[in-house]
């Protein structure tokens, strides 16, 4: 009994450690800019003291008055679409000059927090406010006061809104562009290696040709080569190809007039091919292990019926290999969607064409001040892989196990 409850507690602690970061991410993405950069995400669920700035009234009001009444919450929420602030006013930070007790006749600049109900001198008027936000500002004679900006501390009720998502998806053009770029990269870079690897895996398991086993060992051993080793020559190769294509275009078309001769060294097509090359060893290994285990009688009876290898492959092997194809495709999909390194070295570098991980890496710098946007953008980048992952969990696990538990 003792050990059973012990298990519950330990597992619960581990689970909390694993889940809290997700809660932090999602909570921060649904908070306002001010809240997310000035207070921790865990304060979002309880009333928390936060600072806000409001102006007493709109500019250009010329009517002379002796008393002005208003509400601080109305002023703060005036232009706020998403995060309507409510709660209780704690204090207002007063910044201004008061008579200096040490030097008679002079004033000094002070900052202090003025609590609810205390009279505060603002532009020679008496400013008093209540916890519910009502304020009165009265003057000894009729004046047309200029608006005054005041910093107020509010014990604020929890408020959430999807503003960050709308801002990131609609107002900022980087995130939609990165989503499109990521899809441009991920679809061919998943389908091409699967196609190529499936053909190769079939040949390695069911066709006879000289050097078959040695080639297979070579292919599998390439699995451990760190991809960093290949970047520089690949880049040089693409560079040469691009300049060759550029001169070809110069020679064949009148592109010099419009200045469109230049072929970029880093392109989507280059990224597809590089990802294909890097993904092939694992793909061939996984698919060959599966295809070699298909029942021999089935393939032989197809052959006796007069089918050639192409027909056997398309009509028999591919339909039977769907689980293995699915499990590799999810590996490759996740790997490419989440890849930063290859995309950075080989992928297009124009701001409109960068893939999501690169954008996110840049936003870690540029959105250091706008944590709600950073987190929203991270959530958007994760939605696609997490959905794919959870939907195809079964195949993913099968692929993992194929490489390790079953003697591989």
């Amino acid at each position: 009994m003792y050990s059973r409850s012990f298990a519950h507690i330990i597992l619960a602690i581990i689970l909390v450690i694993w889940v809290v970061p997700f809660i932090a991410l999602i909570t921060t993405s649904f908070r306002s800019e001010v809240a997310s950069k000035t207070s921790g995400f865990w304060t979002a669920f309880t009333p928390t003291e936060l600072g806000h700035r409001f102006s007493t009234h709109d500019k250009g009001q010329k009517v002379k008055i002796t008393e002005m009444r208003g509400n601080i919450f109305d002023r703060i929420n005036k232009d706020e679409e998403w995060f309507k602030i409510s709660g209780e006013i704690n204090s207002i930070m007063f910044k201004g000059r008061v008579p200096d007790p040490e030097k008679p006749g002079k004033t000094k600049l002070i900052r202090k927090l003025v609590p609810v109900g205390e009279v505060m001198n603002v532009r020679d008027g008496e400013f008093v406010f209540q916890a519910n936000g009502d304020f009165t500002w009265s003057f000894p004679e009729e004046v047309a006061p200029k608006p005054k900006n005041l910093d107020v501390f509010i014990n604020q009720d929890p408020v959430f809104g999807a503003e960050a998502y709308f801002e990131v998806l609609l107002d900022n053009k980087d995130v939609p562009n990165a989503l499109i770029s990521s899809f441009i990269v991920v679809v061919p870079a998943t389908i091409i290696p699967i196609t190529v690897a499936a053909f190769a895996a079939y040949a390695f398991s069911w066709m006879q040709f000289p050097g078959r086993d040695w080639l297979f060992i070579l292919v599998v051993s390439l699995m451990v080569v760190p991809t960093q080793l290949a970047f520089l020559p690949i880049l040089q190769g693409f560079n040469g190809l691009a300049s060759w294509a550029t001169s070809l275009k110069q020679w064949m078309t009148d592109c010099e007039v419009t200045n469109t001769c230049q072929f970029p060294t880093k392109s989507f097509a280059g990224l597809w091919l590089t990802h294909t090359g890097f993904g092939l060893p694992l793909a061939i290994f996984l698919l060959r292990n599966y295809i070699v285990g298909l029942p021999r009688e089935l393939l032989e009876s197809a052959k006796i019926d007069g089918a050639n290898h192409m027909q056997i492959f398309v009509k028999v092997v591919v339909p039977l290999s769907v689980p293995a194809l699915a499990s590799f495709s999810i590996f490759q999909f996740l790997w490419i969607w989440n890849d930063l390194l290859v995309a950075m070295f080989v992928g297009p570098s124009a701001t409109d064409d960068i893939v999501f991980p690169i954008l996110l890496e840049r936003q870690l710098g540029t959105f250091g001040d706008q944590l709600h946007l950073l987190n929203a953008s991270a959530v958007i980048s994760m939605i696609v892989p997490v959905i794919v992952f959870l939907a195809m969990q079964k195949y993913f696990i099968r692929g993992l196990l194929a490489g390790s538990v079953k003697g591989g």
Partner: protein, 417 residues
């Protein structure tokens, strides 16, 4: 009469040449033919823009829709070309064999059967050659070449010469890489085993395992963003203390839990030396799910008789795990360990995203990037130094390659018995 070898040779040559000529020309042709698709998409976007009154400028909408159009057609063309290869080469193989050896059906089928495997494996071999094997060997060559040409060991000077560029960085990178190599796989394995065992003994284990599994789907950069919320320092603009009262400006959970005062503003992962451990933890958080899944499956594969026998002999749960189950899944633990070591050696994104390649947080993989972009490391010898560091990275993998190969051989021998 032609010998069968020459027929095979000329047929394969014809197929290769046709492919080399036909595929790129088809691709370029279709590409320029479908160019109006982009404009059509841009017009469609403009129409949507006007009918729904979108807030972005029309220029952005047009560009974005043109890009979607470009994306769709290039994806379709790329896939079409790769399928076209198999179709054309297969068709040519049959067609040419028929034309060239129409007299004997046996000869025809020999020709077809000899060429066909190479049509199937050809693209894979060519891609691997062009994108892995040749580049890796070229990198090896570059690393031993002087900037002006000529062989030399100077690119590796950071190994022994304390005046060489990258001397200090290489030492820090090695120190950090070693710490990562030891700590991350061990922690992943310990947590993975612990969770796999505990989750089997409680009713809500499946839910717990799913949550611990999910980080595997997330990018390292995404994980860095996630953990930034936990490890971050105080607020961006720390508020001055007013009347002695300072509202909390702590935005990092861990710092708040540790009771750091708001003035102390540095994120935890920026700490000198100790910051490395926070970066490692992010990797552990991602990869533990991998170890857990495999260990769960392996533990389920432990024969029930051995467990029951141990229980009858009076083994307590701890003995049951350490004496009975763990020895039986030990080979799986070793496999997971080698996988994790290879993953850790390649890790780049986490330190790159969070530490901006600070010397103190360098790993071999990030040092390569740093050599490319920082003069103090790369100097004017960038490419060669880049290659040299890549080779050092490769060298650290080799022991694992040998170990893995030895293990696979041993297992195959055991299967052979």
């Amino acid at each position: 009469m032609r010998s069968i070898q020459s027929v095979i040779f000329s047929n394969s040559l014809a197929i290769v040449l046709t492919i080399i000529c036909v595929l790129p020309i088809t691709a370029v042709f279709i590409f320029s033919l479908t160019a109006p698709v982009d404009d059509a998409f841009a017009k469609f976007g403009l129409w949507l823009h006007n009918s729904y009154g979108w807030s972005v400028s029309t220029f952005v909408t047009e560009l974005r829709f043109a890009k979607i159009g470009f994306a769709l057609r290039s994806v379709v063309i790329a896939l079409f070309i790769s399928f076209l290869y198999y179709w054309i080469s297969n068709w040519l193989n049959f067609g040419l064999a028929k034309v060239r050896s129409n007299k004997s059906i046996a000869k025809r089928s020999v020709v077809i059967e000899t060429i066909q495997p190479w049509i199937f494996v050809g693209p894979a071999l060519v891609l691997l050659l062009l994108f892995l094997l040749i580049p890796a060997l070229t990198t090896l060559k570059i690393s031993f070449t002087e900037p002006g040409g000529g062989a030399s060991l100077n690119n590796y000077a950071f190994l022994w010469d304390s005046d060489a560029l990258g001397y200090l960085q290489f030492r820090l990178a090695m120190r950090n890489s070693l710490m990562w190599l030891i700590l991350v796989p061990s922690l992943c394995i310990i947590f993975g085993l612990l969770i796999a065992v505990l989750a089997d003994s409680v009713s809500w284990g499946v839910v717990a395992k799913t949550f611990i599994f999910v980080p595997l789907a997330i990018s390292f950069v995404g994980a860095a963003v996630i953990w930034r919320n936990i490890f971050a320092g105080g607020g961006i603009e720390p508020q001055q203390a007013i009347n002695g009262a300072t509202p909390s400006y702590q935005i990092g959970l861990l710092k708040a839990l540790l009771g750091h005062t708001p003035e102390y503003n540095e994120p935890l992962y920026n700490l000198k030396f100790w910051g490395n451990f926070y970066l490692m933890w992010i990797m552990v958080w991602i990869k533990t799910g991998f170890a857990m899944v495999i260990f769960s499956a392996a533990l389920r594969g432990v024969p029930q008789e051995t467990v029951e026998a141990a229980i009858i002999d009076g083994a307590n749960p701890r003995q049951l795990f350490f004496r009975v189950k763990l020895p039986q899944i030990f080979s799986t633990v070793v496999v997971v360990w080698t996988y994790l070591v290879t993953d850790v050696l390649k890790v780049f994104d986490i330190p790159y995203a969070l530490s901006a390649n600070d010397d103190d947080k360098l790993l071999l993989a990030t040092m390569m990037e740093a050599a490319m972009n920082t003069w103090s490391i790369g100097g004017n010898n960038v490419d060669n130094l880049f290659a040299a560091i890549a080779i050092m990275l490769m060298l650290t993998v080799i022991p694992h390659m040998i170990f893995l190969g030895w293990r696979i051989r041993r297992e195959q021998k055991q299967l052979g018995h």
